[in-house]
Amino acid sequence: MTRSMTGARMVVQALKDQGVEVVFGYPGGAVLPIYDEIFQQNDIRHILVRHEQGAVHMAEGYARSTGKPGVALVTSGPGATNAVTGLTDALMDSIPIVVLTGQVPTFMIGTDGFQEADTVGITRPCTKMNWLVKDTAKLAETIHQAFHVATHGRPGPVLIDIPKDVQFANAEYTPPQKAKVDHYQPRVKGDIEAITRLVEMLEVAERPILYTGGGVINSGKAASQLLRELADATGIPVTSTLMGLGAYPASGKGWIGMLGMHGLYEANLAMHGCDLMINIGARFDDRITGRITDFSPKSKKVHIDIDPSSINKVIRVDVPIIGDVGHVLEDVLKVWKARGRKVNKAGLAKWWAQIEDWKRVNCLAYAPGEKTIKPQYALQRLEALTRGRDRYIATEVGQHQMWAAQFLSFDEPNRWMTSGGLGTMGYGLPASIGVQIAHPEALVINVAGEASWLMNMQEMGTAMQFRAPVKQFILNNERLGMVRQWQELLHGERYSSSWSESLPDFVKLAEAFGCKGIKVSDPKDLDDAINEMLAYDGPVIFDCLVEKHENCFPMIPSGKPHNEMLLSADADAFKSGAVLV
């Protein structure tokens, strides 16, 4: 049976056939035919955003919290250019999203037509793949291919640019089963010899560590399950990047905390001192490695990654394993069990004793505030009052983001949405809305800094319109805190433009949007205020005035090795006068 339809209808049909339930978008001249089709059906829900950047971050939040691709629809020209930050964000963090852009009609392309932009040209470096579709007959197939590419191999953003005449024209619809997803079938099974080599090394290692990343989460729930099994059965300590939090539970016995620039002392020292580093779906980012030449000098390194270009890009490894984390871990466990479940018990016991020793430094210690709320304290209370709930956390970018990573715990994957690779201020609010749309009953909190939050605050309108009861937990230090911290520590305390001047009254702002505003500044009112936020059935802007000059520690200044970490003066090490190496 052949089905002829317009390009615009094809778009909607193809999305339905791909199982899409929600599209985040913003209309304009070049996508009107598609909007007309959306109007005439009820299967796909359209969430009208307030800025196209918001649409893309919402699609990202949706994708991260569900594991399914997120979809955004925007118009040509400014609609497309506004989507660029979100695309780049998704590329850096390997998030599967499909962005559809309208384009001027094919016969006008190249004439500097109204709202014409070279969208595929502009977005080529920030998409995994993009297409300009000039023929309606190829439109449906291209959309199916786009979903395939976004979700296979290392996930990422794809974009399809659809000229207006292509949306109007008729052609035969290609269903997903008939679309050729051609040669793009990245390998998922790891080389069994390399896997055996890894097991041999793991059996004898005295100081092994599992260094896990976002790849575990991207691989799917089964991968997280296998990671837990491997870590718990072998007794090897687990650390994770910012992107991988929740893959191994924070309550698990192998958990030693996040590593990296603001990672835990024990996690970074374990990375530095290990003799076997097993990198599972992480990419040796510079925020993790610090100075390359001093990175974990005594270890053999194994790297499991689905993207061959991640191997040896930054750090040379001894055993590369190219494949999907889930598939590889399954084989690792099989081989390890078949060989008799061996580990170096004596070595591991000593290693854990060493790690316990490092933990005693108590690197997250901070001096509690009497009259002012310390940001760490605010997060500890948020954690205590929300633990056990069906909770999702998004963040903005800055100190609050790092404190959230340090002080909130995640026992499940897909519960933590943060802009890691690009560090996009303005990500958290729209991302939290995307999460809430995907999980209407869940508790969704965006841990924000006041400056980041202002970058996409217009999306509160979206939250209101679509009844997304997101909680905006703003740690308001009236500073571009992370910038201020670098200026204090590294630029001679010259605070160049790192003040948040002329801030709005967030409570009035909440009222203006029609939601609830709560302001708190005294530590003794904090719990009640948080409970009030949690009890409110609707979006809340929570203005938590915190200590303005708190620094986020530990910190490894960029370009320094792991063992040259800066610790807070409040860490126990300093109280006892201990000298650290």
């Binding site: 040209g121 040669h183 990245p186 520590l489 630029h491 620094n551 960029s558 063992n563 300093f574 190496v581």
Partner: protein, 186 residues
């Protein structure tokens, strides 16, 4: 390593350390990249080189399989061995790329380039140019009383050598195709 001594804000504590970690010698490699012949693919490949700071010394491209819509891109690039490995890996993971062959690493290969070389002159210089043309097995494809256009095919070094000899004899213009290459043997 306490936060305390650095907290004083001394600028001697530079946070920036931008040293190159492993410096190895640069090598020249010829890569054959088999791609889907669709719009934007060449731009994507070139964008990879410019975006990641890799070198392109020469680049040729043409469709080589009309029914399968495959094009072959031949790139001559330079870099340390680890950079060359990265280039290969980065190219291989691109969605429209079917295969990447490092012809330099995979064994002996034939490399050929075509050049058109315009030389203007009179008298002895003109005769000398024609004599060298014969020695280099170039062809005369255009001539006037005051000029020749030579066509020559060969490895890039041979074209370089010929062009160097033509320079004092009145070299006017040169057009080169860039390298096409195939591995030797079956």
């Amino acid at each position: 390593m306490s936060a305390l001594n650095i907290k004083k804000g001394s600028t001697s504590h530079s946070a920036y350390d931008l040293r190159d970690s492993h410096s190895q010698a640069e090598e020249s490699h010829t890569l054959a990249v088999i791609v889907e012949n669709e719009p934007g693919v060449l731009a994507r490949v070139i964008g990879l080189f410019s975006g990641r700071g890799y070198n392109i010394d020469s680049l040729t491209v043409a469709e080589v399989d009309h029914t399968g819509h495959r094009s072959r891109i031949t790139v001559v690039t330079r870099g340390t061995p680890s950079v060359i490995d990265q280039i290969e890996a980065q190219l291989s993971r691109m969605v429209p790329v079917h295969a990447v062959h490092d012809l330099t690493a995979e064994g002996p290969s034939v490399q050929r380039e075509l050049a058109l070389i315009k030389v203007a002159g009179k008298g002895d210089a003109r005769i000398e140019a024609l004599r060298l043309c014969e020695i280099f097995r170039a062809k005369v494809v255009d001539s006037t009383l005051e000029s020749f256009v030579f066509e020559m095919t060969g490895p890039p070094e041979k074209i370089d050598a010929f062009a160097d000899l033509m320079r004092p004899l009145g070299l006017k213009e040169i057009a080169r195709t860039g390298v096409a290459a195939l591995s030797r043997g079956a």
